[in-house]
């Protein structure tokens, strides 16, 4: 095994990790504020991929504008789902929301299959994104670098928003205690909707990245990456944004290295590996790498 091979594996791991991180942030934000594992989150990721396909291949929008469209599309679907399915059952037992989110996932997937069929589509990217740039002993595609950079920029923007703005503070307060947040004059419905919008927008961008990286998308593409991103969120510590990002990168790297470094008989077990890792992490560190105690939350 050469250093160049290892380096290119690491780049691939970071790219996969960046996408997991963006999806995981949404899981974490939504869980943090409504204690809901949103199963439909992976399908919003797929929605993002198709919004990207539409805006790049059909509407021929320039790439940065397509990113904006995808962010908006994700936010919109997230808001819609929250309003239609989750808000009416707020205060119900956690299991209720979980089942509702499974139902939403089924609705989104079947709507997609009905309208655009389950057929995988080719996702072409502009030539400049496919260009190679040298990086040490290897060359990487622009799209790989773009994915990592965009993920880091979006994450930094989100962390800044949550830490330093008045609305971000109100979101943190709402995540901690609905009743007292209301006594402060905070409209908690709006904060919860905002968490759904932001989380969904980031997942949608991850969908765009997925298409750009692997060149193919399908309406059912969201299930497995969605579940793995949840694993990433748990590894990092559910409810923490920085934990989700860390978990995403750790999982992405581990998965790629697992496949790339072990004998090929094992590589087919990559999904099994990811979930075995989840179970292990849950058992050893139930609060994740940097999560707070979830005793009262779980």
């Amino acid at each position: 095994m050469t250093g160049a091979y290892l380096l290119s594996q690491i780049v691939n791991g970071l790219v996969l990790g960046a996408m997991y991180a963006l999806i995981a942030i949404g899981f974490s934000m939504i869980y943090g504020i409504v204690r809901l594992i949103n199963f439909a989150h992976g399908d919003i990721f797929a929605v993002g991929a198709f919004a990207a396909l539409g805006s790049i291949a059909i509407a021929a929008l320039p790439f940065p504008l397509a990113v904006l469209v995808v962010l908006l599309a994700g936010a919109l679907v997230g808001l819609l789902v929250e309003r239609a399915a989750f808000r009416p059952m707020r205060g119900a037992p956690q299991v209720t929301g979980f089942i509702a989110s499974l139902a939403v996932a089924i609705i989104l997937e079947n709507l997609a299959v009905m309208t655009i069929t389950a057929q995988p589509r080719t996702f072409a990217i502009p030539a400049w994104l496919g260009a190679l740039v040298p990086l040490g002993s290897i060359s990487v595609r622009v799209v790989d670098i773009a994915i990592i950079v965009l993920a880091l920029v979006l994450t930094a923007a989100l962390v800044g928003f949550v830490r330093f703005t008045r609305t971000g503070m109100a979101m943190r307060a709402t995540a901690e205690n609905y009743g007292v947040a209301r006594l402060m004059g905070i409209n908690i419905d709006r904060m919860i909707a905002l968490a759904f919008a932001i989380g969904s927008a980031l997942a949608a961008v991850a969908g765009l990245m997925w298409g750009a990286k692997y060149g193919q998308i399908s309406p059912l593409m969201g299930t497995v990456p969605g579940l793995k991103a949840f694993v990433a969120a748990v590894i990092g510590g559910v409810g923490s944004i920085s934990g989700a990002v860390l978990g995403g990168f750790v999982l992405g790297l581990a998965e790629v290295l697992f496949v790339g470094l072990l004998p090929s008989e094992f590589s087919a077990f990559r999904n099994a590996f990811v979930f075995a890792a989840l179970i292990l992490v849950l058992l050893v560190m139930p609060n994740g790498l940097i999560g707070k105690s979830t005793e009262t939350r779980a």
Partner: protein, 339 residues
């Protein structure tokens, strides 16, 4: 009334009437309808057995399809004619490859292997709670699928095992169904069942009363898995195929929906929900095919689920059985207070 007589009246009589009706059905219904009837029966087995894990003990498991897959493969491998086994499944141990098992023994073996897997997985995983347990059991589906795909010498990989002997019929399904209902009923009204409920209601209090929480959780997980394994075997020999993707997350979701809609913990509720949901999906299918809108039936069911969760959060049949159960609990309290 003596206990055996009461039992005879409450159980043997309905079983006999059910068998008579079933016999009438086999004479009057077309093969397609009979197949649907078998699917309904299998789904009832699945929902009622999942209810042991999710309803009685309150473990939110989505892992039923994983145990069905295990049971399905084990049963299929055992019933397969020995000549096909040696030709198709290279890595099968020779003891298994040389013999062709009878169906009943194969089903039982499928259930037992699934239960064994549940014990092995359950001992570590059942320490998890709520959402985390749900996702870990979901991961189990992927792990089992992974193995099914990647052990081609035993499972023929992604191809799956096709052309299985079509030995499942209404009577097998009915037999397993009766056994499942009987077991669930007995468990629910035994000290084990009360222990399970105590864990569901308040784990800490149950533990402080000396209930062996961990053991009971694993036991209820394994019991559910056993019936899931048997049902997987029935299913495989009904459609004459078992493949890694035969039992998906979607099925796990539908089963959970049956349990929740039926009113968690209610045997009758879960059974009725299973019947209603299976039949309504079946009835919606021709409509969706006529309209060319594939997937519409699933959307309708999913929307229905959300509406029920919003407007009837305790389940459609939530009151069907808890009343009986409440009366039972009152009687016990009464018995305890009078020395």
């Amino acid at each position: 009334m003596s206990a055996p007589a009461a039992f005879l009246l409450r159980f043997a009589l309905p079983v006999g009437i059910g068998a008579a009706l079933l016999y009438a059905a086999t004479l009057s219904l077309d093969p397609y309808s009979l197949t649907i009837l078998q699917f309904v029966g299998i789904n009832v087995i699945l929902a009622v057995s999942l209810n042991i894990t999710n309803g009685f003990t309150g473990l939110f498991s989505l892992g039923h399809p994983a145990f069905m897959t295990i049971g399905g493969y084990v049963t299929a491998i055992l019933t397969m004619p020995a000549t096909r086994k040696t030709a198709m499944l290279r890595d099968l141990p020779s003891i298994l490859a040389a013999h062709e098992w009878p169906f009943a023994a194969s089903l039982t073996a499928g259930g037992l292997v699934a239960a064994l897997a549940a014990v092995i997985v359950g001992i570590p995983v059942l320490r998890l709670r709520g959402h985390y347990l749900a996702v870990a059991t979901l991961g189990l589906i992927f792990i089992v699928q992974s193995f099914a795909v990647n052990l081609p010498g035993i499972t023929r990989g992604a191809l799956g095992l096709a052309g299985l002997p079509p030995v499942t019929n209404v009577w097998w399904v009915y037999l397993v169904l009766v056994l499942t209902l009987l077991t669930c009923w007995r468990v629910k009204h035994s000290s084990l069942g009360r222990t399970m409920l105590a864990i569901r209601e308040n784990e800490l209090a149950a533990a402080s009363l000396g209930v062996k929480v961990a053991r009971t959780r694993v036991l209820s997980f394994a019991l559910g898995a056993f019936f899931a394994g048997v049902a997987g075997g029935l299913w495989a020999h009904l459609v004459t195929l078992i493949a890694p993707g035969s039992f998906s997350i979607l099925l796990g979701f539908q089963l959970i929906v049956m349990v929740v809609l039926g009113g968690t913990g209610s045997i009758a509720g879960a059974a009725i929900a299973a019947v209603v949901l299976t039949l309504s999906t079946e009835w919606l299918r021709p409509i969706e095919e006529a309209a060319g809108l594939f997937g519409a039936s699933q959307i309708i069911v999913a929307v229905g689920v959300i509406l029920v969760l919003i407007f009837r959060p305790s389940g459609l049949f939530g009151t069907a059985e808890p009343n009986v159960f409440g009366a039972f609990a009152r009687r016990r309290r009464h018995a305890q207070s009078t020395p």
